[in-house]
Amino acid sequence: MTRPDVVVIGAGIVGAACAWFATRAGLRVTVVDRGAVAGGTTGAGEGNLLVSDKPPGPELQLAQLSARLWSELAQEIRGFEYEPKGGLVVAATPASLDGLVALAEAQRRAGVDVRAVASDELADYEPWLSRKLLGGAFYPQDAQVQPMLAAARLLRSARMAGAEVRLGVEVGALLRDGDRVTGVRTGTGDIAAAAVVNAAGVWGGEIAGMAGVKVPILPRRGFILVTEPLPPVVRHKVYAAEYVADVASSGAGLQTSPVVEGTPSGPVLIGSSRERVGFDRTLSVPVLRALAAQAIELFPVLAEVVMIRAYHGFRPYCPDHLPVIGADPRAPGLLHAGGHEGAGIGLAAATGLLVAQVLSGGATDMDLSPFRPERFG
């Protein structure tokens, strides 16, 4: 085995994107994961690529770059159900409509394609949508992918271009030379490398700790309900304007706001909930009940539909709700790519490209300072 240039820790969507872009940049890449491909948060979400839920700022810029990259990857790599179907954000109260209109205007100035939708136009977008809504905004740049397929396809493409993917290999320590990180120590031996990328998702804080640095990535639990397969009754990603405020909040208690979307295979996915309960995997019936009730308020037709299952996972979030991307000056050789919270699938492509640009020592397409790992003090 030749010594890789880069070890990527984590075979989720972010690790897969880092591996793909780094390999494409000509680097020799080894990916390790203690579990399976997409075994963590990547396999527990909906696969959203959203610009609509982000106010102007560095995260929106990252999402805009990522949206462009995903549409290219859909041509280049294929096979992961990329659907550029657009997002429809709806408001049920005058206050939420005012908030949505203001957000949309600010996003438009930041280059987002957004169209106001009057209440009597909503049915043209979504025939089954509640007639009680006051209006909305349509975002044609919102898209969706099947996230597990996307991670698997990215990794396969990286492997075909020379990368190595080692699953069931757990990193127990980082190899050090002073402050410098020089590789990983695993249950099946050491792997020396010029750089190590921490793409361990909700467990990224633990990897950082192995280098003696603090990166506060914490789990925020979310549930998703899955309906029986249906005809395309939900055409876009549809969610309530309150969702944006929920995502941006820092409360520990349970928050729910309706997010509803169809899938190419027929089931409708219903979110969203967020609560800080550590890694507690207990199924919560009250949360599922709240999700179902809110979805029926948006789409009354769902009241006659059967839920066949639910799943849940842990979004990796940082206290300031921005991801951590780039080299860690406290531990040269270590880069972080994580903390994307519920937007990791969408932001993965840009994150992978930027990490590859840092690894190659060139200019980055975006200023990375808002995402710097040492910002938490």
Partner: protein
């Protein structure tokens, strides 16, 4: 004297405690649904409620697992078309 339910107009005899799926298999039926995308035949596969292959419409409700639902006298069971929710197509 056995009880009966109706499957697509046909009288199906069953013994108390038998599932809808068991009763259908008992009268020689191997498949009663076609897959949504490629139209392949499906009937009982796992027999324990896991695979969702044996779906039927029972008394107007689609996507019922024939292997799990106990047969009851007078039930009206129908072959399911597609996802069973065709009336929601717009």
């Amino acid at each position: 004297m056995m009880d009966i339910f109706i499957f697509d107009g046909r009288r199906i005899e069953f013994r108390p405690g038998q599932s809808v799926g068991a009763a259908l298999v008992n009268v020689g039926m191997r498949s009663w649904r076609r897959t949504r995308l490629t139209g392949r035949p499906r009937g009982i596969f796992c027999g324990i409620g896991v695979c969702f292959d044996c779906l039927v419409e029972i008394d107007g409700t689609p996507n019922q697992r024939a292997c799990l639902i106990p047969a009851r006298a007078g039930m009206v069971v129908r072959r399911q078309e597609g996802d069973g929710h065709g009336h929601l197509t717009v």
